[in-house]
């Protein structure tokens, strides 16, 4: 990499997660994973990935030190990516990582420290964006998404939500690239749920290849049937993301194309209000969804 390449420090912190978004990131194709990790993610800019638990070589105190020094020494310069929810029950003791002065560091405190001083925060995946599965009722770990958590701590750092369970790597890499190429998203570039419209501005049902079946009143009654998957519980009518055009895993497939109803995994109401996942949206459920 040429010496005039700009270095953007990035900290990717996993709180209560399944690592699914980290694994999804490794599936990035354009740019590919080598370009993201060691090359220029966009021409002239290299992501200096200071912290990423799934791939980083180091462990232990030296890497906890990275978190602490970055928050201070690079205040306002680094991009924070959070994966997973922030567990707040039992004073944060249901989720700890690392130790400081002999005491376990609650993830909540680490995210607060990092979040307060970041240039911006990207919530990678539905858990970090909205709480998702790990905040499912009755939410035994007191899990919060990043926006709600920042709000509870009075942290003003802007948060861009990149949901999906897990998110498509293009959505995450593209959101970072947008920030690097065009600056932080303007309010009119995000939807009400804080998602970049360039990826989440598409309603799945309206753009679904099975939409003609819906219009013709042809519905699948059981798994494997031809037809619209609405009666099998498809949440496409209340879900927003460009899955129908993008496809997952190097454009190989996506849920509806494979024959599965959409579960609405990019939505703030996933999974609780979109459950049961395999039962159709009733008016009552839809009303609950709209009013929420």
């Amino acid at each position: 990499m040429a010496s005039q390449v700009k270095q953007i420090p990035v900290v990717w912190y996993q709180a209560a997660s399944c690592s699914g978004d980290s694994v999804a990131l490794l599936n990035t194709t354009n740019p590919n994973v080598r370009q993201v990790l060691v090359d220029e993610i966009v021409p002239g800019v290299h992501i200096n990935l200071l912290f990423q638990m799934t791939i980083m070589a180091g462990q232990g105190a030296p890497i906890i030190e990275i978190l602490q020094t970055t928050a201070v020494a690079k205040k306002g310069e680094y991009l924070l990516v959070v994966e997973g929810t922030i567990p707040t029950a039992a004073n944060g003791m249901m989720g700890t990582s690392g130790e400081k002065n002999g005491r376990p560091c609650p993830m909540a405190e680490t995210v607060a420290d990092l979040g307060r001083n970041a240039m911006a925060t990207i919530a990678a995946g539905t858990c970090a964006s909205f709480g998702g599965v790990f905040a499912a009722e009755p939410n035994p770990s007191g899990s919060l998404g990043v926006r709600d958590f920042f709000c509870s701590r009075g942290i003003q750092t802007p948060v861009i939500n990149v949901p999906g369970c897990p998110m498509h790597p293009d959505w995450l890499v593209g959101t970072i690239a947008h920030i690097l190429l065009f600056g932080l998203h303007r309010p009119d570039e995000l939807d009400d749920a804080g998602r970049p419209l360039e990826f989440y501005g598409v309603q799945i049902h309206e753009n679904c290849p099975r939409r003609p079946f819906f219009d013709a009143g042809k519905f699948a009654k059981k798994i494997g049937d031809e037809g619209c998957l609405y009666q099998l519980g498809c949440k496409g009518p209340v879900s927003y993301a460009d899955c129908p055009y993008r496809g997952f895993n190097n454009h190989t497939n996506w849920c509806i194309q494979a024959g599965s109803p959409c579960h609405g995994c990019t939505e703030p109401d996933f999974p609780d209000k979109l459950s049961p996942l395999y039962q159709k949206i009733t008016e009552e459920r839809l009303a609950r969804f709209v009013l929420a």
Binding site: C18, M53, A61, M94, N139, T252, C265
Partner: protein, 516 residues
């Protein structure tokens, strides 16, 4: 006595902490703790049973398909369709999970474990014209070395040429593991968190196009396993021969087995490509899900949560006295057991599985090692590499057995009440799901996951878990760079973020806590 803290452990999935008391350079005591509670068992209660199929996959983004398989078999049983799953459904489930194995094992050896053995900085002197290596060389020259530095220093033993070659393979492996996900997505829809398996079968059937797509991808992965992955494991083994004798662990092995070849409802009789079995005190037997018991003596759960998974509850108690982990301590027939690729290999080898024996013997003879060397850090890596090679071949056979146009799923409505279990082996080992349905809703759902076996805390008889036992007696050359402990912990491929604490009798080191 000083306690050195290596917290958190990276390059694993999840959140775990390991403590070791080191005296005179030798580990005298160790304790392994899970440091994250997510509460799947609690938030699944009251939900539609079918939702467990999708929600339990979210336990792990590295190996969701095995939760898909365990949930599907659990629900098949509770919904009364175990023996009705059509052959296409059974085979496609096998293909989906096997592709997850390919992804998980390749990810583990290269992205998670290799940086403990391979010195990426050797590429600074690279003089060739491989574009990947030139990119790494430019990266090294820039001086911004994260996320590959900081790291432990002082024990990288491959020569420069090998380090450069394995770095090239590291980048190649990242593409191979993504290709395995692409193969999985052909039937699974997407990955991680595929949508392919459902109670009664799978969501889509075979077509010529899908069969060809899977075969092409998997063949490329099979070639990689045979010509790159296995030779790399051998190269690492030759450079680090001492790791063929450390990290032996508990020497009891449990494998539920996986990849159904029939649908016998009795798991001890069902034929599986990776066979079911348990080895306790050297004796081989069949593994029966009824013999699992979960101890919670040292876990942050109420004492009455102990019991068989079919009856157990999950009541968190973060203040509990004497507890040090969010993991329970599962025991099989009152024995502490290791699960995972080594356990599966030991069970298959002892069961007389000829295909497994041929591969294991070939690798051992290439290394000039005896069978006992398998019970080690290197043995676990070798077992994974062999599984990738074998599965890549087997997936092609399964794909060619598919019958386009024939059924792949039966209807599986939820009864008013029912019970079930699904016990299978995932990339990291034995996984069990148990369900009780009441009034068409989930009344109880329990999971006993692989790392809970391997990273379990002490039980009420004071017996340490498998990883705790594997750390005992280990000589730590340099407590500032305790490679030995990190390599042993990672050889189990724990599905939890770990923190390793080392207690040193004489020094209080950087980041250290307390003098005991």
């Amino acid at each position: 006595m000083a306690k050195v803290v290596i917290d958190p452990m990276s390059r694993i999935e999840g959140h775990l902490k390991v403590e070791a008391v080191v005296e005179g350079g030798v580990v005298k005591e160790s304790a392994v703790s899970g440091t994250l509670f997510r509460g799947f068992e609690i938030f699944l209660r009251g939900r539609d049973p079918w939702d467990a199929q999708r929600l339990t996959e979210r336990v792990c983004g590295v190996c969701p398909a095995v939760h898909g398989m365990a949930a599907a078999q659990n629900l098949d049983r509770a919904l009364g369709v175990t023996e009705k799953v059509p052959p296409n459904g059974r085979l496609i489930r096998n293909i989906i999970l096997a592709c997850n194995y390919l992804q998980s094992h390749i990810l583990h050896f290269y992205a998670l474990a290799a940086l403990d053995f391979v010195d990426v900085t050797a590429v600074a002197d690279y003089a060739g014209n491989d574009p990947d290596l030139l990119a790494v060389k430019r990266f090294l020259a820039s001086g911004a070395l994260a996320p590959f530095v900081p790291r432990y220093e002082g024990d990288y033993r491959l020569d420069k040429k090998q380090n450069i070659e394995l770095t090239r393979h590291y980048i190649q492996a990242l593409r191979m593991r993504a290709l395995a996900h692409e193969a999985l997505a052909v039937f699974g829809g997407k990955m991680p968190h595929d949508v392919g398996m459902v109670p009664g079968g799978v969501i889509c059937g075979p077509t010529t196009d899908k069969i060809m797509s899977i075969i092409a991808k998997v063949r490329a992965i099979g070639e990689f396993a045979e010509n790159v992955y296995i030779p790399d494991v051998i190269a690492v083994a030759r450079a680090y021969p001492d790791y063929a004798s450390i990290g032996k662990g508990v020497e009891n092995y449990l494998a539920w087995g996986v990849f159904d070849e029939d649908l016998d409802p009795d798991l001890t009789r069902r034929k599986r490509y990776f066979p079911n079995g348990v080895i306790i005190d050297g004796k081989l037997g069949k593994a029966d899900p009824e013999k699992v018991f979960e101890d919670v003596k040292h876990s942050w759960y109420a004492d009455d949560c102990a019991g068989a998974p079919a009856e157990a509850q999950t009541i968190p108690l973060p203040e509990k006295n004497g507890a040090y982990s969010w993991l329970k301590s599962p025991r099989y027939d009152n024995a502490v057991c290791e699960v995972g690729p080594l356990a599966r290999t030991m069970v298959a080898y002892r069961s007389g599985d000829e295909a497994c024996r041929a591969e294991v013997d070939r690798l051992l003879s290439a290394l000039g090692a005896k069978a006992d060397a398998l019970k080690s850090v290197l043995g676990r890596h070798a077992a994974r590499a062999i599984e990738v090679k074998r599965l890549a071949g087997k997936i092609v056979k399964w794909a060619l057995s598919l019958k386009p146009g024939e059924p792949f799923c039966v209807e599986a409505p939820v009864p008013d009440s029912g019970v079930g279990y699904g016990c299978v082996d995932g990339p990291r080992g034995a996984l069990g799901h148990w369900i009780e349905i009441s009034e068409k809703k989930i009344a109880r759902y329990q999971l006993v996951v692989p790392t809970t076996w391997n990273a379990s805390p002490r039980d009420s008889q004071g017996r340490p878990g498998p990883m705790e036992q594997a750390l005992m007696g280990i000589r730590v050359k340099d407590v500032d760079n305790p490679f030995e402990l990190a390599r042993i912990v990672r050889s189990y491929d724990p599905c939890l973020a770990c923190s390793v604490h080392v207690l040193d009798a004489h020094r209080n080191l950087k980041g250290a806590i307390r003098i005991a």
